[in-house]
């Protein structure tokens, strides 16, 4: 079969110059006629395997794109995860267990048994160490991604009616929950880093404590996230 030099170089993941030189020197079973490379697929395949060179005809796309991080697409942005998870005011409860029990019900698209499982996992995580990260914020999340893949990352934000003692690192009682449910560890870390970026902003903390509307909350997130640039 025949391919252009560039395309074949991408299939073999070689620099174009290297492939061109190898053809000239006769080191690779490919013939060049004008601009087209002429080769037999099975012969070249066997040759590539023998020399530990990857040969993939199906993927003649640019090398840079192939390397792009698929997880980032997965995680999307903090804003989209929050929109998916929802923003809720006025969650009441006196203990960690109580607020978490009520919070899992607010996570969209979970069946009853899944809600129970999520709650168990959140409590398990809290027993390990508190997820209260200070400034009155807690980020309850399961240690491992929930089974049942294909779900997109979501963060359910809840403002509590009364402060709850979460045993946070700064001993402050918690008034804000970001309940994170992510399909992968990578997306979890990505979103966590974005949340912690937002929480560094004093104006945002003030906004959270002033019981904002959903619109106010989301636009604040959008503004903060735009500073980070598109992930």
């Amino acid at each position: 079969m025949k391919l252009e030099l560039e395309a074949l170089a991408r299939c073999l993941q070689l620099p174009r110059d290297t492939l061109e030189r190898w053809i000239r020197q006769g080191r690779i079973p490919v013939r060049k006629t004008d601009r087209l490379c002429d080769f037999q697929k099975d012969v070249l395949d066997a040759w590539a395997r023998k020399h530990h060179i990857r040969f993939n005809l199906a993927e003649p796309q640019a090398a840079g794109q192939a390397d792009a991080d698929p997880e980032k697409e997965d995680a999307g942005s903090l804003l989209s995860a929050l929109v998916r998870g929802g923003f809720h005011l006025g969650l009441d409860g006196q203990s960690v267990e109580e607020v978490l029990k009520k919070a899992v019900v607010l996570v969209p698209a979970l069946s009853g048994s899944e809600q129970d499982m999520l709650f168990e996992k959140l409590m398990e995580r809290e027993r390990l160490t508190s997820t209260g990260i200070g400034k009155g914020v807690a980020i309850p999340h399961p240690r491992n991604p929930l089974p049942g893949n294909g779900r997109e990352a979501m963060i359910t934000a809840c403002l509590l009616d009364s402060p709850v003692d979460f045993n946070s690192i700064d001993k402050k009682p918690v008034t804000v929950l970001f309940l994170m449910v992510c399909p992968s560890v990578k997306s979890h870390l990505f979103l966590l880093s974005r949340i912690s970026f937002c929480l560094r902003d004093e104006a945002f903390i003030t906004l959270l404590n002033s019981r904002p509307t959903a619109d106010q909350f989301f636009s604040a997130i959008e503004a903060l996230e735009s500073r980070l640039g598109k992930g």
Partner: protein, 575 residues
């Protein structure tokens, strides 16, 4: 497929498509035949010239004949075909090393004509180098005509050389071994079969055209244990003469270079000197096969002193011919000098141990030849096989191996590079396949370059920079002038590590304050070996590539290793 079908591109024929071995064997045979013809032609023209000039050999002015011949050969090479003079074999090795086996079409005949003028007129030089370059050029040009790739071209070049050497000595194994040992320097399956076929074809052509006569006739020798022991001494003696001859030619070349005369005048002077020597010692003239025959027969009449003198005189005559610019090779002279040396050694042995029985003068002459070929050409195997084929038997194998290998080893101690390769090694141009030098010279900076670098600007703050870093996958950040895109310097992770956890510094420090402006850079045309040398010297693992004034990418040792390994695997694979 049909669209590209062409009789000029046999690589596309169905028969040869999947595997080119058959193609190489068939074309190798053709090339071997052509190389054999070239050798036969040179041999015939030497005989013809010798006969034409015979009546004038006795004249008082006969010493100018070699001078005129050498001058004519230089004029022919420089004015008519416009090629650099030379021995032939080094050019072929250079072509294999650096040019992918490319040789000019003129080389098919230029050295043949020039050397027949030099040698036919009486210059002390060998016809082997010229036929090697002719045969090799025939192979190379046939490969080019059929648009073969470089690997195939190198193999065919070797086939041509093998055919020529096999034909001139009527010794196929010697031709075959010479090409693998000296010309190609690589014993691989891909070469061995076509070159062997070509050797047979070349030898067969010679046998068809001039009958199955050997350059030197077959002889049987009875070798006793004392001969084997005595060989040790002969090996040392041969090594000594080899070093003497190698240095003699080189010194003559330097002396001739200092005179500043035009090349043809130098050649004429050298030739006349050889002519004068020839008046006293006629055996020193020409390629000298005649003298070798006499010595093998045991019919060389002169005594020990004269034989030893003849040995030195032949060295001198060869130095005058080749050192002063005559055209020809060193193979035949080293055979002649070797047989003189062997003969002298034998005579000395007989006079010291008159009661012991030795194998005979002819035997020692042959052993001496093997010693000189092993020493001067650093080709012990060629020496061994050539003599085995000349004697037509195995009786000699033990002393042969001893003389040839010890002489080569001792010579290596004084002259690490063989006569053929000395110049190439000094210029760093002897690149045998699969070696470090070869791999590095094949790779280019442009093949190693990595372009996925995030570029920063000098007026960026450290905060901006950390943003870039968090998005990047590299530890090196080139700094560019935002106005004209000029490369200003590099920021590496190491530069900012101390400030990275001090948030107060984030808005106080600018890239231009932390960047390194004095960085070693690579130009796209630099050789990879040089780049590596700079990295090693400065303890670097990666360097920026700067094209003109603009940043073009990075080269790193990690990527280099990746490519190096691929290259090595591809280069050393031959089946």
């Amino acid at each position: 497929m049909k669209r590209f079908f062409s009789w000029r591109i046999p690589g596309t024929w169905t028969l040869f498509r999947a595997d080119d071995r058959l193609l190489l064997i068939v074309s190798g045979m053709v090339v071997g035949v052509a190389g054999g013809f070239a050798a036969y032609l040179l041999n015939q023209s030497l005989i013809f010239l010798f006969d034409v000039l015979k009546p004038y050999r006795t004249c008082a002015w006969s010493f100018v004949i070699p001078g005129a011949g050498a001058a004519l050969s230089v004029i022919f090479l420089t004015r008519v075909v416009r090629e650099k003079g030379g021995h032939g074999v080094p050019e072929v090795i250079y072509s294999v090393s650096r040019l992918g086996g490319r040789l000019s079409a003129r080389a098919m005949f230029s050295r043949l004509v020039a050397s027949s003028l030099t040698i036919g007129s009486g210059g002390s030089a060998g016809p082997e180098s010229p036929v090697v370059i002719s045969g090799a050029a025939i192979g190379s040009n046939i490969a080019r005509f059929f648009s073969m790739n470089e690997r195939q071209r190198v193999t065919l070049l070797g086939c041509g050389a093998a055919g020529a050497i096999s034909s001139i000595f009527n010794a196929p194994i010697a031709g075959f071994v010479f090409v693998l040992e000296v010309v190609l320097g690589e014993w691989s399956k891909a070469h061995i079969v076509p070159v062997a076929v070509a050797s047979v074809a070349g030898a067969q052509i010679n046998r068809l055209l001039s009958g199955n006569q050997i350059a030197f006739s077959h002889h049987r020798f009875q070798v006793s244990w004392q001969d084997t022991v005595a060989c040790l001494g002969l090996a040392l003696f041969a090594a000594l003469i080899s070093v003497l001859m190698t240095r003699g030619i080189r010194n003559m070349h330097q002396i001739a270079g200092k005179t500043g005369l035009p090349a043809w005048v130098k050649a004429a002077l050298g030739g006349c000197a050889v002519g004068l020597i020839g008046i006293v010692v006629p055996d020193a003239l020409g390629e000298g096969y005649h003298a070798i025959r006499e010595m093998i027969e045991g019919a060389y009449a002169h005594g020990l002193g004269l034989v030893f003198a003849a040995c030195l005189v032949k060295v001198l005559a060869t130095s005058f011919t080749l050192g002063w610019g005559g055209s020809g090779g060193i193979f035949a002279p080293s055979l002649v000098v070797g047989s003189f040396a062997g003969l002298a050694y034998h005579r000395a042995l007989v006079s010291v141990f008159p009661t012991l029985t030795w194998v005979g003068e002819g035997g020692y002459a042959l052993l001496g030849m093997a010693g000189l070929v092993g020493g001067i050409l650093q080709a012990p195997l060629t020496g061994i096989f050539l003599i085995v084929e000349i004697t037509g038997g195995y009786e000699f194998i033990l002393p042969l191996i001893i003389v040839s290998s010890i002489s080569a080893t001792v010579c290596y101690y004084f002259e690490p590079a063989s006569f053929y390769m000395k110049e190439l090694i000094e210029k760093g141009q002897l690149l045998r396949p699969g070696t470090d030098g070869r791999v590095l010279s094949d790779l280019s900076v442009l093949e190693l370059i990595e372009k996925d670098c995030a570029v920063v600007r000098p007026e960026m703050t450290l905060r901006d920079l950390t943003g870039v870093i968090s998005q990047s996958r590299r530890n090196h950040f080139p700094v560019e002038d935002p106005e004209n895109g000029r490369f200003l310097g590099m920021v590496t992770f190491d530069h900012i590590r101390p400030y990275l956890f001090e948030e107060i510094m984030y808005d106080a420090v600018f890239v231009e304050q932390i960047m390194d402006t004095d960085v070693a850079v690579v130009r796209p045309g630099d050789s990879v070996a040089d780049v590596l040398a700079i990295m090693d010297r400065n303890g670097l693992y990666s360097m920026p590539v700067v094209d003109g004034e603009k940043f073009a990418g990075m080269v790193s040792k990690a990527t280099l290793f990746d490519h190096y390994r691929k290259e090595l695997m591809v280069q050393t694979d031959h089946d």
